[in-house]
Amino acid sequence: MTFDRKIGDTILAVDQISLSFGGVKALSNISFSVNEHEVFAIIGPNGAGKSSMLNCINGFYHPQEGTITFKGNTRRQVRPSEAAREGIARTFQNIALFRGMSTLDNIMTGRNTKMNKGIFWQALRIGPAEKEEMENRAVVEKVISFLEIEAIRKTAVGTLPYGLQKRVELGRALAAEPDLLLLDEPMAGMNIEEKQDMCRFILDVNDEFGTTIVLIEHDMGVVMDISDRVVVLDYGKKLAEGTPDQVRANQAVIDAYLGVAHDDDV
């Protein structure tokens, strides 16, 4: 079941976003756009504001200026649960799994936005609630076999090794069948094999389901390999946007990574 990967029109447009925390300006006038079905990377040195950018898209942070347009819907701020219902899912830099629950339950929570049988049906558990539960279980099982984590289905996630936890988290995001998948350093802390696995999964997701992917990643090899387009941030400002090759050749980007001092720095 392969999706014919044709990059579509803009699905996400970030326009002049500025975000401050008290006196600290995390993002200054960031604008870029992401096309449907493409793999888009946000890179930059530490503290550049990359996670903050994802958090703005997600609704967790509320920027002071600028707008975000997703699937034609323009807004500046949005409640995180509403962003999830719009079709945005994400993973987190420091894993945000529900430690008290099993892998299966964690991924089932990803289906939450698709399930709506009320509490009275839940109490009785026969009929509509049971049917809904089984339907969604089937979907989740597909995700589980896709990510090859059948063996740890019932294990409490708090006891899993780091690499597997990251995979479960990806599973939870995938279970929501998102249009836009935000991945915050999905390969942080992994060894070569785990990275290769994760790369494969990300590309498969993009290939098979056509999900648009925005990822933050530090491993340049990975970024250049799998991304269609890249945006580079530094100190909350945008340095460059374009294909990996274009960005690699950009002088400002090179300076930033090599640590050449900026004139307007204190």
Partner: protein, 358 residues
Amino acid sequence: MFYREAGQFKTSYKADQAIFSITQDRFIIGLFLIIAFCVVPFFINDYWANAILIQFLVYAMAALGLNILTGYCGQVSLGTGGFMAVGAYASYKLMTSFPELNFVVIILMSGGITAAVGVFFGLPSLRIKGFYLAVATLAAQFFLVWLFNKVGWFFNYSPTGMIVSPPREIFGYLVTSAEAHPAARYLFCLTFVTIFALVAKNIVRGRVGRSWMAIRDMDIAAELIGIRPLEAKLTAFAVSSFYVGVAGALYFNVWLGSAEPTEAFDIFQSFFVLFIVIIGGLGSILGSFLGAAFMVLVPITLKTIMVDGFGFAVGAEKHAEVMLLGSLIIFFLIVEPHGLARLWQILKEKLRRWPFPY
């Protein structure tokens, strides 16, 4: 339940996710229920009913409620006593205002009223978290007790300030007031508790229960994946308060017979139920029962040993009880924070492998 018996394979998701998917568990529970419903009523007497069984059932119900709120949804509540009072007084007002109304309906309505009150006092949970929320629930606890003490309408302006449970029948059997047969009272409570335990189990293993646990474990992440915190938390408060309210109504009508708010529903009641939930195991339906059994049996056992057996003064026994309870709480929190329910799970695992250690 995270373990599976070898040789029992499930061929459908439905079978896999059933409450008692292991044959042995089904057998044990079935046996238990048969004994509880069919055997005990023939042997029960006043002492057993009053001192142990009905108390156990009522507290198990309250513990189910608190477990839903604190164990599954992670919202700490020290207001259990106050909410039990709401259930009790609601039932009293309903019974005295509508004498013809069926008793079961009264109990259910009392639960509903308590649920509404619970939602109201649960609103702060949207802004306040964790430990601070506990303080907010204390406001509910102290305010409610004061309310039922001061405002005459609640106790029908009786000069003593107490409320007394009027006699009520189910299927022709008296279930409240002193003349009721202990078996009738026992079965009445047992039916309620069994049904509602099943309901609780269904809720917590479904979508709603998962969203509660998500809020408990990491509420920010929960919101970010689409769970609406408002909905989830207030639902938890509502369901939990319903259970606690029903427990309060049963406590007053079927067990106590008469009540006064400062004694029956004070802060120590809240602590008592909290201890049940901790010792039994936070986030476990079974734990609510184990904890209730434990907390009801400990004082009785202690009293029998110390006062009847060794001749200690009653006061000394009370002090010893308090000390024992305190040390047990600490002990459980250190050794097994997930309480008796987890210990039971571990025991089962060990039994299956016996005599091999691994």
